[in-house]
């Protein structure tokens, strides 16, 4: 295949400013229990590719899974790029790379037969369904995906990269009359099947919390001081700042550039935020992005000031900044766009006790049900919460959904804990119909003042 791609690029690269070809082979095993029933076991095998051409600043992209016709699709991509091209092509310069990236796994899921994976998940499922009369159902999901991606471009880069993605969830569900409550244990890794093992204690805790949620009152609507646990901090920073840092929000948008000028103050001096492709164990680990650019640790905020953003070669080139290896595609069906990898709030030095002691009325928000961002506004959900009263954790509450505005909420982070923790779940990030892209998040406990919480 390598030679065929090289020949293909050789044949067409004189007719465009830039050309790249990606071929992806993937296999997936997934298991899903629902209630007591093993609902699905599925295996999937995909083989497909894409060609992307750049002519006078406009892209033509063709994806396909009939590989025999690759030349026809290359011509299609070329014709599509020519259809619009009327500007100057700008791509940040990078060194051509030739590399073979083999997997280095701590524990390879492919070494375990399907039987073993099914019985591991069945163990959790039985644990949930047998936990108590109040637990009425469950969802237990496991998947592992192996990808082998060949990438080559007209500048001489030629990379074959293997990737592994393992993740899942064990969800305990209580239903009583009109009420349904669920609490989850999530897991994920890029290199270690053991992330799916030994979860029994956490599963029992989720069962207990699901039952407690049946009796927990809804949080009262209003503005609160919030302590977010590490898992929620990760989602918070992904939603609150990660998306806004993506270069494609800014590179052709003068007004956004004025707002997002490097050096602008976004938080207190204690706040440091970065996005990294280098964190082994994270579902966002990546050696090269889907433009063949090596990934790195990219600081977005240092001591409260904006210092960087997440670039593709096009957004970096247009803004005269350094490419960061953030151009990612969900699969061969999509062109790469600016995306996060593993996004982190860097640890500070405040203990949980110090953080909570002077909160008169607040919410301690734990775990995440996901989030969504629209420009400066963002929302993220906690799986459960506890009221904080007079410096102490008080009653459990439910339906804690928080929202904020990037221009004010980040400045309201006034305490950062020391317990930075990596969080991997089974979901992923969504943007421009490319969803769910595997990403990771990291953070410590943080305290945020004046957060809007929806509720009763």
């Amino acid at each position: 295949m390598r030679n065929r791609i090289r020949d293909l690029i050789g044949k067409y690269n004189q007719q465009c400013d830039y050309m790249e070809v990606r071929i992806e082979e993937s296999t997936e095993t997934s298991i899903r229990f629902s209630g007591r029933e093993l609902e699905t076991i599925s295996t999937r095998a995909e083989l497909g590719g894409c060609v992307r051409c750049l002519v006078n600043g406009s892209w033509g992209f063709a994806s396909f899974n009939t590989l025999d016709d690759i030349e026809r699709f290359a011509e299609m991509a070329l014709a599509q790029a020519r259809l619009l091209g009327q500007q100057k092509t700008v791509l940040a310069e990078v060194q051509p790379i030739e590399d073979d990236v083999a997997l280095t796994l701590k524990k390879d899921p492919r070494g375990f037969p399907l039987d073993a994976k099914v019985s591991l998940m069945k163990g959790y499922n039985d644990l949930i369904n047998g936990y108590s009369r109040e637990i009425t159902s469950s969802t237990v999901v496991y998947f592992d995906r192996y990808h082998k991606i060949g990438f080559a471009n007209s500048e001489g880069t030629n990379i074959v990269q293997e990737k592994m993605d393992i993740a899942g969830v064990c969800s305990a569900i209580c239903a009583e009359g009109d009420k349904t409550r669920a609490q989850r244990v999530v897991f994920g890794s890029n290199d270690d099947y053991s992330c799916a093992e030994g979860l029994e204690e956490k599963v029992r805790e989720a069962c207990q919390n699901a039952i407690l949620q049946l009796r927990a009152p809804k949080v009262k609507a209003g503005r609160y001081t919030v302590i977010a646990d590490p898992a929620l901090t990760g989602v918070f920073i992904h939603e609150a700042f990660g998306h806004l840092s993506e270069g494609d929000n800014v590179y052709e948008n003068k007004k956004m550039q004025e707002l997002m000028t490097l050096g602008a103050v976004y938080g207190s001096e204690k706040l440091n935020v970065y996005d990294t492709g280098l964190q082994m164990g994270s579902r966002g680990y990546l050696k090269y992005d889907d433009e063949g650019v090596p990934t790195e640790k990219t600081y977005l905020i240092k001591a409260g000031k904006l210092v960087g953003r997440l670039h593709s070669r096009e957004t970096a080139g247009t803004m005269h900044e350094k490419p960061t290896g953030n151009a990612r595609a969900l699969s061969y069906r999509f062109p790469p766009i600016c995306r996060m990898r593993n996004t982190c709030v860097q640890a500070g030095d405040v203990s949980f006790e110090e953080m909570i002691e002077d909160i008169d009325l607040g919410v301690y928000a734990i775990n995440t049900t996901g989030g969504e961002t629209w420009h400066e506004l963002f929302t993220f959900g906690a799986e459960r919460g506890y009221m904080i009263r007079k410096g102490k954790i008080a009653e459990m509450v439910r339906d804690v959904t928080l929202s904020g505005n990037v221009f004010t909420t980040l400045k309201n982070i006034d305490a950062i804990g020391s317990d930075q923790t990596l969080h991997n779940g089974p979901g992923g990030c969504g943007k421009a119909a490319q969803m769910p892209l595997p990403v990771g998040e990291e953070g410590p406990h943080i305290r945020i003042r004046d957060v809007i919480i929806g509720g009763e």
């Binding site: 095998a45 396909f64 609507a221 007004k255 049900t369 629209w374 809007i452």
Partner: protein, 446 residues
């Protein structure tokens, strides 16, 4: 070819087998920052197999036809882990008449013309206000689906799709205003100019930000906001959730679950709707049915798998949906999915309703709805586009605020009015037709 596969499946030990083939192409012109940016095309060919071995179900999917043999083996192997389903594949062969899914005009439309439509949108938006940056996409697609099974079903249909997503972004200081509209259909009748005009109309009423005090308010949900909220009911009537006894509607058949003023019809053969089909992704015939009649629950969405468990017939709702994007894909096994929902209109106009309520809030676009406990009906969302109503008029945009409540409580006990006007709302695979819904005592937090 498919017959061979079925033979092979039998040889590997399957008692029954179903093959699902999806072929499709799409072409999309994308624009960003008010300039044409890329043309993307996609070609997909995929096969999914389901086998029954001793009533146990196995599933496999592949795009790589060279992997058919291992795919079949894996499906048969996976069946051995499953439990007895009591299900069987359908034998009756439906006809595709009565639903218009194809339009030669869509197939013939050249990419140049799609690019012109995109340019037209950019031009109109910058004529309205050059400070607004336009973005979006205009695309067309061609889909072919065929299902063959060992019970004798062998049928196929083709579908064309023309779609557009138009948006504009206006940045003024630290205020970012983003308005967008989308539409899709199976024929060439999509009116790009009208869609762009909707985006501009959204800007017209959103430019001024106004403050509002939090508290329970009278809230009008626009058709697209109402359509998004009714995802809660889609979870509620989902046969799988009923069967697992986690739906709050599990024993509410025939009972009042919404206000008497609400009648909801599901029309999986709705004219020009992208999700319409003569049969679902398991071969069950798709028909029109009433989901809620004057507030009373009338039907669940049931696939082949849940039918024997609930002892009810399948309802033509077994679709293979990629849940994150709500689009059809061979890669996912079928499960119950509601198709096009039509909430029947009331008799008052939107303007009359606005005038009547005096003060309140119009909610149009929400974010983060999915983070709530939707099975229970509890939602809490950030207001992306919402407006303050004073003295019966929209006076400005509300932001940095949330709306929350319980879907069932709001639409059973607190419905004030249903508008006469309805709108088509495209949400991926489904097209819902909804009126404006006016409700009282809905919590707005600021």
């Amino acid at each position: 070819m498919l017959e061979d596969m079925i033979e092979k499946a039998r040889a590997y030990g399957a008692d029954a087998c179903e093959v699902y083939v999806q072929e499709g192409t799409t072409s999309t012109v994308k624009f960003e920052a008010s300039r044409l940016k890329s043309v993307d095309s996609n070609q997909t060919h995929g096969i999914a197999v389901r086998v029954l071995v001793d009533e146990r179900l196995g599933f496999g999917a592949a795009s790589d036809l060279a992997k058919i043999r291992p795919l079949l083996q894996a499906a048969v192997e996976s069946a051995s882990h499953g439990e007895k389903t009591g299900m069987s594949f359908p034998s009756s062969v439906p006809t595709a008449d009565g639903v218009r899914l194809e339009d030669e005009e869509v197939r013939k439309r050249p990419l140049e013309e799609l690019a012109e439509s995109a340019e037209g949108a950019i031009r109109k938006i910058s004529e309205y206000d050059p400070a607004i940056l336009a973005s979006g996409s205009v695309g067309k697609g061609d889909l072919h689906i065929r299902i063959v099974n060992t019970a004798g079903f062998d049928s196929e249909y083709r579908k064309t799709v023309l779609s557009a997503w138009m948006a504009g972004q206006l940045v003024e200081g630290k205020n970012i205003l983003f308005c967008h509209r989308e539409s899709a259909g199976t024929t060439a009748s999509l009116d790009f100019d009208a869609l762009t005009a909707r985006v501009i109309a959204d800007f017209e009423i959103s430019r001024l930000n106004v403050d509002i005090e939090g508290g329970p308010k009278t809230v009008i949900f626009t058709p697209r906001a109402a359509s998004a909220l009714f995802d809660v009911l889609k979870l509620g009537v989902n046969g799988r959730n009923v069967e697992k006894a986690i739906s709050p509607l599990r024993d509410k058949m025939g009972e009042q679950i919404l206000s008497e003023g609400m009648t909801l019809v599901e029309d999986g053969r709705l004219e020009e709707a992208v999700g319409s089909a003569p049969f679902d992704d398991e071969g069950t015939i798709v028909e029109k049915k009433t989901v809620v009649d004057h507030g009373v629950l009338k039907s669940f969405a049931i696939d082949l798998r849940t039918a024997p468990k609930l002892n009810l017939p399948p309802t033509g709702n077994g679709f293979r949906i990629y849940s994150f994007l709500n689009v059809q894909t061979y890669q996912t096994p079928p499960s119950p999915h509601s198709t096009n929902w039509l909430l029947l209109p009331g008799d008052r106009s939107y303007d009359e309703i606005l005038a009547d309520i005096g003060d309140g809030v119009v909610v149009d676009v929400m974010a983060g709805l999915f983070t709530g406990n939707l099975l229970s009906g509890d939602f809490s969302a950030n207001l992306m586009l919402a407006y303050k109503i004073s003295n019966g008029r929209i006076v400005g945009r509300i932001k940095n605020a949330m709306v929350s409540g319980n879907f069932y409580a709001i639409f059973r006990d607190n419905l004030v009015a249903v508008s006469r006007e309805t709108e088509r709302v495209t949400e991926g695979f489904t097209t819902n037709v909804f009126p404006y819904l006016c409700t009282r005592e809905v919590m707005i937090s600021t």
